[in-house]
C-alpha cells in the first residue's frame, strides 16, 4: 500500500481516532454520501468485511472479486486497506460525490438504495484520473 500503514494492522491502536476523522472531524451530521464511506470504513474497523462489502457499488465489488479471485469479504481481508485520514470535504454533483480525506480520496455514487463506494484509496495523478486501489471498471 505504497508505504502507508495497512488498515488491518492499524485497527487496534488507531480505530477510535480514525473513526472520529472519517466520520466528519467534529461535524455534527454526515451527508448521505459521507455516510456510505464512513460506514464502509467503520465496518472494516470492526472486522465486518461482509458489512463493508455491502457498502461497495456492485461494479466495484465485482471488480474486486474478479481481480483477487476471492469473494468480496475475503478479498477485503487480503487487501491492505489503509485509514483515509482526517475528513477534509465532500463535493456532490448529481449521482456522484467525491470525499477528500487527508490521506486519500473516495468516490461514491448514488443508487436507488442509497449511496455506495465506487472507488477508494484514490490519489491524484499529474495528468488524468485518480489512481485508485479499489474501483469499478
Amino acid at each position: 500500500m505504497k508505504g502507508r500503514q495497512p488498515w488491518v494492522s492499524a485497527r487496534a491502536g488507531a480505530a477510535v481516532a480514525i473513526l472520529a476523522t472519517v466520520s466528519g472531524c467534529g461535524s455534527s451530521q454526515d451527508t448521505p454520501a459521507e455516510t456510505a464511506a464512513t460506514s464502509f470504513y467503520r465496518a472494516l474497523d470492526t472486522g465486518d468485511e461482509t458489512g463493508a462489502c455491502a457498502w461497495l457499488a456492485p461494479k466495484t465489488r465485482e471488480e474486486l472479486e474478479k481481480s483477487s479471485s476471492k469473494d468480496c469479504p475475503n478479498a477485503l481481508r487480503a487487501e491492505t486497506v489503509t485509514s483515509p485520514g482526517a475528513f477534509r470535504d465532500v463535493t456532490v454533483y448529481g449521482t456522484m460525490a467525491q470525499i477528500r480525506y487527508a490521506e486519500e480520496t473516495v468516490f461514491v455514487t448514488r443508487f436507488r438504495s442509497g449511496w455506495r463506494v465506487m472507488a477508494l484509496g484514490c490519489t491524484p495523478q499529474a495528468v488524468g484520473p485518480y489512481d485508485c486501489e479499489i474501483k469499478g471498471a
Binding site: 467525491q98 436507488r112 465506487m118 485508485c132
Partner: protein, 224 residues
C-alpha cells in the same frame, strides 16, 4: 368557448405541443440517462429524480436559450437589415426605427393604442423595445441556467471518470459549454436564414409568413 379556442388556436396549439414534447423529453431523457448509467454499472434515476437533475436541466435550457436568442436577433436585426423579395423583410425604404407617425407613438397614438405608446418619454421608449427586452432577458436567464446545469452535469461525469470537478468559471471556457451552445445557435441561425431566403421564391398559401402565391419574387415586405 368555441370562439375563444378558435381565436387563440395558434397559442393553444403551440402551448399544447410544447407541453407534450417536454413531457416526452422527460421520459426519453430518463431512459437514455439510465441506459448510460447501466452501461457503466452506476445507479438509475426515477422519473422525478431525472426531472430535477442537472442532465435534464441543461438539455432543456440549452435549447430554450437558443430559441429566444433566435427571435431576439430576428426581431432586432430586421429593424435595420433587409432582404429583397422576402416577406420577412421590411420594404427596402423603411430600414431603421421609423417615424413616430409610422409607429403610432406619442401624439400619433390612436385611441386604442397601448397607454405606454401614447405616454411619451421613457415609458414609450421602454415600451417600444419591450419585446426585445423580454426576449433578451429570457435568453440570458436560460443561458445562465444552461451554464450552471451544464457545469453540474459535466462535473458529475468527471467524478464518474475519477477526475476532480472544475469551477464554474473554468466551465464557461470549457469546450463542453461552447459545444452545447454553438450546436444550438448554428441550427437556429440556419433556420431563420433559410426562411428569409426561401420565402422569396416559395409560397405557403394562406400563411401570413408567406407572400401571397401570385405575388412576384421581387415584392419585399408583403405578407399573405
Amino acid at each position: 368557448m368555441r370562439s375563444f379556442v378558435r381565436e387563440n388556436s395558434l397559442s393553444l396549439f403551440f402551448g399544447g405541443i410544447f407541453l407534450a414534447s417536454l413531457v416526452g423529453e422527460t421520459f426519453a431523457g430518463m431512459h437514455q440517462f439510465n441506459a448510460q448509467q447501466a452501461a457503466v454499472g452506476l445507479g438509475q434515476l426515477t422519473w422525478f429524480q431525472y426531472v430535477l437533475s442537472a442532465d435534464f436541466a441543461v438539455d432543456v435550457a440549452e435549447n430554450w436559450q437558443s430559441e429566444f436568442l433566435q427571435f431576439l436577433l430576428y426581431l432586432t436585426a430586421t429593424v435595420w437589415l433587409l432582404q429583397r423579395g422576402s416577406p420577412e423583410s421590411k420594404e427596402l425604404d423603411k430600414a431603421g426605427r421609423e417615424t413616430d407617425k409610422d409607429q403610432k407613438v406619442g401624439r400619433h397614438a390612436q385611441k386604442d393604442s397601448p397607454s405606454w405608446a401614447a405616454a411619451g418619454g421613457s415609458r414609450t421608449r421602454l415600451y417600444s423595445s419591450s419585446l426585445a427586452i423580454v426576449m433578451g432577458a429570457i435568453f440570458l436567464g436560460c443561458w445562465l441556467v444552461q451554464s450552471v446545469a451544464g457545469w453540474a452535469a459535466f462535473n458529475e461525469n468527471r467524478l464518474q471518470q475519477l477526475q476532480d470537478p472544475i469551477g464554474w468559471r473554468s466551465y464557461l471556457l470549457n469546450a463542453d459549454f461552447w459545444s452545447r451552445t454553438l450546436q444550438n445557435w448554428q441550427s437556429e441561425f440556419l433556420a431563420v436564414g433559410s426562411m428569409a431566403v426561401l420565402s422569396i421564391y416559395l409560397r405557403q398559401r394562406g400563411s401570413p409568413e408567406s407572400k401571397p402565391v401570385g405575388e412576384p419574387h421581387t415584392a419585399t415586405g408583403v405578407e399573405g
